[in-house]
Structures are given as C-alpha cells and as structure tokens.
C-alpha cells in the first residue's frame, strides 16, 4: 500500500513534469541556434491556449484545433524573432532579453483585454475519468500530455537529424560562423528555431489547458519550473530536459507529501541553485569551450 502511494505521487508529479519539459524544450530550441531565449515563452503558451479556446468556441473539431493552435504559436514565435531578437543578434547585443520580456508583457495585457482575466475551462474530447493501472490512478488526459510531449519532441529531433534543413539547424547550433561560411543562412535557421519553439509552446498550452484551465496567468507558474528544468538539464540536451522534467515533477509531488504542501516549490529552487553552483552548464550540458 505504501509503495503504491509513493508510485502514485511520483507518477502524478512526473506527468506534470512532462509539461515543464516541453516548455523547457522551447527554450532549448532557440538557445541552440542563437544563444538567445524568449523570456515571454510563457505568454506564448497562454496566448496559443486562448487562441485554441476561441477556435473551439467557434465550433471547430479538436483535431483541427490542435494544428490550428500550433500554427498560431509558430507564427507568434516568428514574430518574436523578427521583432525582438533578430536586430539585437545582428548587433551582437543583449537587447533581446529586454525586448522578449516586453513582448511578453504586451501579450499578457492583450490577453487580459481580449479574453478577460477569468480562468476558463478548456473542453477536450479526451476523458478525465481515471484509469486504473497496477493500483495507481491516471487519467487519459494526463497520458495525452505525456504522449503529446514525447511525440512532438521525437518528431523535432528526427527532423533535426534526418532532413537537410534539420542538418543546417544542427550545423548552426554547433558553430554559427562556420555554418555561415558553408553557405547556410544563420538568420533563416534562427527564424526556423523560433518558429519551432513557438509551435512547441503552443502544443504545451493546448495539452495542459484542460488540466490548468485557460487564463492570462496560466503559464506564470509553469514557466518558472520550465526555466529551472532548462537550466538544471543544460540548454544543449533535449533528452536531458525530459529526464529532469520528470524528476522535478515527481520530486515536487513527493516533497509536498512528506515535508508539507508549503515546501512544494522548494526542490525546484534548490536544484536550480545547486545546478548553477556545481554544474553551470547543466547536468546534461556540454562544458563550453572558449577559444582565445
């Protein structure tokens, strides 16, 4: 009975951890190519969820809403790249930090004004009636999150390894200048990575919305956790992000059971501090080599 309890806690937590991982993956995609991340990623998640909700309200079936929402996310990602990142990267500056934060704030106010400040339910055809596996309860909804996360990450990784465009992506990630000398457009590749990052954020929003409900602040907690996951795992490894996500989610759940629910946020923060102090490139990160 007692082991079952621990397993139930770990599984429930780990499934939430998958969402952290997916959002963190969005950070990782853009960081790989451009060494920049979108600090407004949480707002991207939220805006895409709201957009998808609007599609549902218009009567579109779920299987059309998912690609529609993802497309919207990708477009937003491209917009962020053009508006906040490109010029500052060209000038080798750090302006993208402030600009992506500002775009995020803008997105937040826009959402408040367009959709209101209330949390709204996100209808989904996937059932939330519990299934019983080996003595633990899991809802199909939670499973859909896990499957969606693994599927999209698998596809993106496959794309990076198997297609020409994907290889260009990897080349720019490895060495932007060298890739450019080989005739690969770094700008296009970075653009692509922001588009993909937006797409991933949108999927995260759509998957998690039935659980978290949709509101302007829906991603504000998630994004902090995702950031911890990204930093702890290192911004180089997609695989590491999934592992750390699962681990953090399970750890949170267990902590809040054993130490009390007030300590729930603590493990993530402690992990973050430890990672920054001991392995600043992340547990799965590569040490940066700087040639002088």
């Amino acid at each position: 009975m007692y082991t079952l309890l621990i397993v139930q806690l770990a599984v429930s937590g780990a499934l939430m951890g998958m969402v952290y991982a997916l959002i963190a993956y969005g950070f990782q995609l853009t960081f790989a190519t451009s060494k920049s991340i979108n600090f407004g990623q949480g707002e991207l998640v939220m805006l895409s969820a709201f957009f998808s909700l609007t599609l549902i309200d218009r009567g579109l079936p779920y299987w059309l809403v998912v690609p529609g929402g993802m497309l919207f996310g990708a477009v937003l990602g491209l917009f962020v790249e053009r508006a906040a990142v490109r010029l500052s990267l060209e000038q080798k500056g750090e302006g993208w930090i402030l600009l992506t934060i500002i775009l995020g704030l803008l997105g937040f106010s826009a959402a408040e004004n367009i959709w209101g400040r209330d949390d709204r339910p996100f209808p989904t055809p996937i059932s939330s009636d519990p299934l019983h596996f080996f003595g633990i309860d899991v809802t199909p909804l939670e499973l859909s999150v896990a499957i969606g996360v693994l599927a999209v990450m698998g596809l993106v990784e496959l794309f990076k390894r198997k297609t020409l465009l994907g290889k260009a992506f990897e080349a720019v990630s490895a060495d932007r200048d060298a890739a450019q000398l080989m005739g690969i457009s770094a700008t296009r590749t970075i653009q692509l990575s922001y588009g993909l990052s937006g797409l991933v954020a949108a999927l995260a929003g759509i998957l998690v919305a039935p659980i978290t409900t949709v509101g302007p602040t829906m991603a504000s907690v998630l994004i902090l956790k995702a950031f911890s996951v990204a930093v702890v795992a290192g911004l180089d490894s997609g695989f590491g992000i999934v592992l750390v996500g699962l681990f953090l989610g399970a750890l949170e759940s267990l902590t809040s059971f054993y130490l009390g629910s007030g300590w729930r946020e603590a493990p993530g923060l402690i992990l973050l501090i430890l990672a920054l102090a001991v392995r600043p490139n992340g547990v799965f990160g590569k040490a940066s080599i700087r040639k002088v």
Partner: protein, 407 residues
Amino acid sequence: MKKTILAALTMGLFTFQAYAADTVKIALTGPFTGGSAPMGVSMRDGAKLAIDEINRAGGIQVGANKMKIEVVERDDEGKNERGALVAQELSSMGDLSGVIGTVNTGVVLAGDKYFQEKGITKIITPAAGSASMTQWSKAGVKDLSIFRFSADDGIQSAMVVEDAINRKLTKVAILHDSTNYGVSGRDDLLDQIKKQGNKLQVVATEKFNIGDKDMTAQLLKAKFGGAQAILIWGIGPEMAAVSNGMAKLRMKQPLIGGWTLSMSNYIDNAGKNGNGTLMPQTFIEDPITPKVKSFIDSYHKTYGVSRIPSPMSAAQGYDAVYVFAAAVKQAQSTDTHKIKDALEDLRDPVKGVIATWKQPYGKWDPANEQTHEAFRRAQVVMGMVQDGRVVFANKADRQRLIKEAGK
C-alpha cells in the same frame, strides 16, 4: 463672453444643487472588472434593480416630498490601492448619503477608514472576511458608521463544521489556500471544531498556492489519513483543481467549504466533478416564493442572462438597498449621520428577497461586532452544486424559507 460662461456655470451649479436636494445619493462600489467581477457586477446589478423599483414608485418619502435615489458607481477592480482611492474620493463628496458594496476583504480594510473618519454610512456587501468588522472592535471605536450585510466567515465556518458533524463524520481533512483568506478560514474552522465539542478529528491540514493545479499530494494525505470529508477554504479555480483531483483519485468524500464554492469559476471549471459540493449560501436562485421569483425573473430579463453570475451577491445588493432606503425614510433625511442612527434602530421590518429584516442592526458595541452584522445563522442555508447550478442542499431549509416568507 467670459461673463456669460461664468453665469452659465453658476446657473448650472445652482440647478445641480437644486436637483441634488431632491435625491438621495448612494454610491455602489465593487470590482466590476477582473477576477472577482462576477460578485461585484451581480451585487451592483441587484442593487440597481432595487433602486429602479424604488424610483419607479416615485422614490423615498421624506417629509412632504418623495426623493429619488441617485447612483454613483465606482469600480475598485478588487485592488486594495484602487479601493483606497475610491473611498477617499467618495468620502470627500460631501452630499453622499451612503455607500453600499465591496467584495474583497482587502479592499474593505484599505478603504473603510476614510468613510469612518467622515462618519459616512456604509453597508458592506458581500465581503465576508471576519477582519472587516473585527478591525473596529479591536480598535475600540465608540461610534461606527460601517455596517455589514453579509454572512461573515464565522457563521460560514460554523455551518461547515456543523454539516460535517450532522453527517456523522468523525475524521476530516482541511485544505486551504495560502492567502489571508484561506489561512484565516482554516483558523476559523479549527476554532469551530473546538467550539462544537471536538467531535471531528483533523487528519490532515494542507495548503495550496494560487495557481496550483496538481493537488495529488494534499489529497493523498487526506485519503490515507482516512478523511471522510474535505473541508476547504479558497477561491474558485484552485478548489476546482481539488475537485478534479478527487475525481482522479476516486475520492467520493463530500467537499464542504466557504461560499466561494458557488463562484462560477469553481462550478464551470470543476464541471461534473463539482456535483455534490456543499457551501453556505444566503440566497439560492430557486423561485421559492413569488417575491423571489419576480426578483430572479427581473434580473434575468433586465440583464439578459439565464443564470445570475453570483446569486448571493445580487440578492444581498438588492436587500441592502431596501434596508438603506428604510433607514432614509425613518431618518426623514438624506444626512448620512442621521441615516446611520436610523439603521442602528430600524423600527419597521424590511421585506427583502433573502428574508424579512427585523431590526437587523443595533447600537454599535465595540465588545460585540454582531451589533453591526445583519446576518444570523437563520438567514443562511447550505447550498449544493448540481449540474452547474447551486440548489438547496436540504429540502427542510427550502420549506422553512417558504414558510417564513408566508408569515
């Protein structure tokens, strides 16, 4: 040219004053936008229904003439700092007869001192936090112009505990959010368990943060502690997450908590998992008497809705206006200080949709804040969520209210 403008202005000033002298100016305040808007808007709209009815009948009889009610509306957005500004502005108006409203206890604490300073009569509704009134008894204020028209958290927590005991339960878990509201709700519950004879054993006391969605850990603690019911104090979205988590873990125990469980953002987000949830209510959207029916119908018709966003807030706003109007009539004056005195000793019963109010308030006694609280246990019933609506949890309450209204 300048002179004509000046003349026009002075004329305007005079006509305005002449007009103002025939009206009773009441301010309605509350969050009309933002997260607690369903309560604020319902309260305002309910109050305006009552005001329209009074005005259509000619107004309030003061001396030889009838005076109409003039409304000033202010949105405090549920924000403390905004609430303080609104209170400052209203209290400096000079010709204001009174204020009705405020949803958030924090806004009450931030703003009411300005009304009290000027002695402006205010009826708080529907904010329920105990601190709104206890702040004055703690300060030992001798003369208070603030009244409340809402079932305070003390009554509510007593009812929640009572309900659990009536169900012959012995073990409960308390879940609450980490805000002031949640923590003081937890303390009220623990206090009531002690007061009602320690018949309930608290097997787990767990908290959650605003924005938390995964309640597995807290619920498992309750489940493995053997809790037969979950007592909860929080607001809509997180309590919906608790209900959804309970469904996932196949926990069939009843969820009992504060009146916030009737908020539309709880009911909508919990969906079918919210069915059976219990909470104290001052008003249920159920046309039990002709008076209640006409109130509900005219709310639906006037505002084009099929469900009042917060029926309690609407009914309290409506009744509060009638209580206030009765005080104006008794005082035979629009002077806010005289209205206060009349409220403290209201001679004629006021027929409202919640109850018939007989002497709702007494002379303020700092040792007993109940003197300025209108609601007693008898005016509050248990409500239950059923298919997206709040209904009477006990048939007996419904019958009792019908009978009392018939008297």
